[in-house]
């Protein structure tokens, strides 16, 4: 569904991504693993058009979307949930959701506010609360829900478990599995191996802006040396 090839990206003169390539098959959850500063967020941003790739292709269902603007990529069917959540703090929960609203995609059940409150019951209880007065976990749910309002077919999720209590991480993992069951493909950036294990089918390891390893999630868990080399602190 998503195929990234030879992707490079720069911040100013700093070369951040170098020849990054991987695939996200339809209906699967692929996790991008790597230490702090490895380039996970930059990869997601480059796919989303929020960092302009300096080389390479981003094929979404066969069309190269590299170099397009973020809003066009969103309209093509990608949804992006940023690491910092970026909730509109002045807007209420309901208004935040309405910013994300886009017409439904074919083949997937369209998201409505009610369905999202079903997915994240905590949100349903605070529809009129301004985003600025929500806890980190609630903001994370709202950020995901807001993106889902755009009815994406592929979801880019940047560290949804960051800073959440273990119980909330479990609930978040449940939600992600539910999304997968709905037929959504998901590209997840993570550092939390527990969370990655709970949701991902495949794993891609990135270090210093290069892909170092790619394979099944189960495979990775059995591969002590790869884990030691790229992921342990």
């Amino acid at each position: 569904m998503l195929k990234v090839q030879g992707l490079s990206a720069h911040y100013g003169r700093a070369h951040i991504l170098d020849d990054v390539g991987f695939e996200v098959p339809a209906g699967q959850v692929v996790v991008l693993l790597g230490r702090n500063g490895a380039g996970k967020s930059t990869t997601l941003k480059a796919v989303m058009g929020m960092v302009r790739p300096s080389a390479g292709q981003v094929l979404f269902e066969g069309t190269d979307i590299a170099g397009r603007e973020a809003y066009q990529i969103a309209r093509a069917g990608l949804g992006y949930v940023p690491e910092e959540r970026r909730i509109f703090s002045e807007l209420t929960v309901r208004e935040n959701l309405s910013v994300g609203r886009r017409p439904p995609a074919q083949g997937l059940r369209p998201w409505t506010e009610e369905r999202l409150y079903g997915l994240f019951p905590a949100l349903g209880a605070m529809q009129d609360r301004p985003g600025g007065r929500m806890s980190g976990g609630e903001q994370q749910m709202l950020s995901i829900a807001r993106t889902l309002m755009g009815n994406p077919r592929l979801l880019l999720l940047d560290e949804p478990s960051e800073g959440l209590a273990p119980v909330v991480v479990q609930r978040m993992a449940q939600a992600v599995r539910q999304l997968k069951a709905e037929g959504l493909a998901i590209l997840l950036a993570e550092q939390n191996l527990y969370f990655a294990h709970a949701v991902a089918d495949r794993a891609v390891i990135i270090e210093q802006g290069r892909i170092r390893w790619e394979g099944g999630m189960v495979e990775l868990l059995n591969d002590e040396s790869t884990y030691q080399q790229y992921l342990s602190l």
């Binding site: 809003y71 509109f88 002045e90 807007l91 935040n96 910013v99 994300g100 886009r102």
Partner: protein, 614 residues
């Protein structure tokens, strides 16, 4: 007592029109982050267009109000076109470049208005049915003013509804906070920006059109309005509608009562208020912190680097010519222009120092130029000081002002800091303008002649020497450890503070240095002209300096040099060649902005480096 009531009502009426203009500006700024200097020009266009439309329509209610609405709509369309044809192309350019573009628009609109409507003030028709006045507690108050008082709150209410109750309004509020995220959610920002520009311009046009029955339409409406509206928007907090409303009320009433109590202080009163508000609340009354904007935008800003060696040789060669050639030039005129250029280069370099390495924009740098000029001139006038001591005193006067004003300005950031510099500059200006006993007011300080040894040629060499040494000194400082620390705090204040850089002190020292060098330029200016007038520190002079720096490009050290030379040369030639020099200059600026979004020096360097590597 009755008088107070009348003044209160007058204050409400002007608050109402101020709010209309300010609401447009604040909405535009909120979403696009553009400090639109051309907003006053749109207001002026609204008044002119309303004049033409209303006078060509049949008399009566439909003619008048229809004309007002049509004019407002037309200005809205002009604003939308401005966004689509000009600003849209440079959203990714450094923020200050957009400012430059809007300056270009101001110049162009001035001359277009002059061409179409002529230089004479135009008196519009009165509003039909509202010519009379009403009795309030035994006093007569014009009916039209009462209607105006009502229009402000009605527009505020409609705008609040629009922003609260429609999806468009929700999108605009979201974009005001984090426009990149709104884009990532699939909203086409272009369309949003254009529509916001349409609405904001429409409000400016409406405000202008509504002035028709109140005052004459003239070519000074643009700058007079824009400064006052900036004050309102900044005092209220950028991007906040209720803030703009409250600030408009405050400023309108202060004006009305200020005239009653202290006629002399009215010119500064609004700026004093702004200074006080910003010192107490650095983001205005209702302003909020901004989410850091997209990485995409900041990536476009290259680092400040050293020029390649060949360029240095070129500069050196140009300098040799500048020193050696003038004795062989015929005529004083060339020497006068060259002296002006030397002064302009130093002035621009001093502003560049706080803008480039310091990372602070100043809208009021003329204050230090002017204070240097007045310092030198007043010493000769009152103490019969010879030229050299007077010149030496200039940077100290300007530096002292820098110490005082800078202390407040460098605490703030971004537009707020820039606006506070403007406020201080206006305060300095009105002191020069109104303290007639000391400065001669509008008549200026005359007879500031150089010593006998300083012939036109010698004085030119003196100016050139000061300019070159001053510019080199600033360059030295920018590349010294102090300069690196200064840039470190510019790029990331928190990180810089973490490694022990005191950002406040750095910025303050930089500000004072820049003020001092501007003072040198000002002192030279006083003796070059033989006189000093309040125009030495007025807003147009600050704008000139900004134009020079922005034209040249903020990112390179050579930028202000090229910008000052290009600007002074162009300006000089154009003023001599045509009455419509603003149109040409503005047009050139717009073309340059579109063609070289990295400034002249940046473009030259890019071409140079491209040639070497490519």
């Amino acid at each position: 007592m009755e008088n107070l009531l009348l003044q209160g009502l007058n204050g409400l009426a002007s608050a109402s029109s101020l709010f209309l203009v300010a609401s447009g500006l604040t909405v535009i700024f909120g979403v696009t982050r553009i400090v639109n200097f051309a907003h006053g020009s749109l207001y002026m266009l609204g008044a002119y267009l309303a004049f033409s439309i209303v006078t060509s329509l049949p008399r009566g209610h439909a003619g008048f109000w229809g004309g007002v609405v049509l004019a407002a709509l037309a200005v809205g369309v002009i604003g939308a076109l401005l966004e689509m044809l000009l600003l849209r192309r440079i959203y990714r350019a450094p923020e200050l470049f957009q400012l430059l573009a809007t300056f270009g628009v101001v110049l162009v609109v001035q001359d277009v208005a002059l061409l179409v409507w002529g230089a004479q003030d135009l008196l519009g028709p009165r509003a039909p049915g509202l010519r009379g006045s009403v009795e309030l507690l035994g006093l007569r108050f014009p009916l039209y003013e009462l209607v105006l008082i009502g229009i402000g709150p009605v527009v505020l209410g409609l705008l609040l509804l629009l922003f609260k109750r429609t999806r468009w309004g929700t999108l605009v509020r979201a974009a005001t906070q984090d426009r990149e995220m709104v884009g990532a959610l699939g909203v086409n920002q272009r369309w949003l920006f254009t529509s916001v520009f349409f609405l904001g311009s429409l409000l400016a046009g409406l405000a202008g059109a509504l002035q028709l029955p109140r005052e004459s339409v003239n070519l000074h409406m643009d700058l007079a309005t824009i400064t006052e509206v900036f004050v309102v928007v900044v005092v209220g907090g950028l991007g906040s509608l209720p803030g703009a409303a409250l600030a408009a009320l405050l400023i309108g009433e202060l004006h009305a009562f200020g005239i009653l109590i202290f006629p002399k202080i009215t010119l500064v009163l609004v700026f004093l208020v702004m200074a006080v508000v910003l010192v107490v609340r650095p983001r205005g009354l209702f302003g909020k912190a901004q989410v850091a904007q997209a990485a995409v935008a900041s990536v476009a800003e290259p680092v400040l680097g050293r020029a390649p060696a060949q360029l240095k040789w070129l500069g050196f060669f140009a300098l040799v010519v500048a020193v050696a050639a003038p004795p062989f030039l015929a005529g004083d005129y060339a020497l006068i222009v060259l002296t002006d250029m030397a002064i302009a280069v130093l002035f621009a370099a001093s502003l560049h120092f706080i803008m480039g390495p310091g990372g602070m924009a100043s809208f009021g740098h003329a204050a230090y130029f002017g204070i240097g000029a007045y310092g030198a001139a007043l010493l000769t006038k009152w103490f019969a000081a010879p030229m050299v001591p007077a010149l030496l005193a200039a940077p100290f006067c300007a530096g002292l002002a820098g110490v005082l004003f800078g202390f407040f300005c460098v605490r703030l950031s971004g537009v707020y800091s820039a606006m506070l510099t403007l406020a201080f500059a206006q305060i300095a200006w009105s002191v020069a303008f109104q303290w007639v006993e000391l400065t001669g007011g509008d008549n200026g300080v005359l007879g500031v002649w150089p010593d006998p040894w300083a012939t036109k040629l010698n004085f030119y060499w003196l100016a050139l020497g000061c300019s070159v040494m001053g510019t080199l000194a600033l360059r030295r400082i920018a590349l010294s450890p102090f300069g690196y620390a200064l840039r470190a705090q510019r790029d990331n204040t928190l990180r810089a503070e973490a490694i022990g850089i005191n950002a406040f002190e750095m910025r303050w020292v930089a500000f004072v240095l820049a003020a001092g060098f501007a003072g040198v330029a000002g002192g030279l200016f006083a003796f070059a002209k033989g006189s000093v007038f309040p125009t030495a520190l007025d807003i147009p002079r600050s704008v000139d300096a900004l134009l020079m720096v922005l034209l040249g490009g903020v990112q390179t050290l050579a930028g202000p040099l090229l910008g000052a030379l290009a600007f002074t040369g162009l300006h000089e030639q154009l003023v001599r060649a045509t009455d419509y020099w603003r149109l040409v200059l503005g047009g050139v600026i717009l073309l340059l902005v579109l063609a070289f979004p990295q400034g002249l020096a940046g473009a030259v360097r890019q071409w140079w480096e491209g040639r070497r590597h490519g």
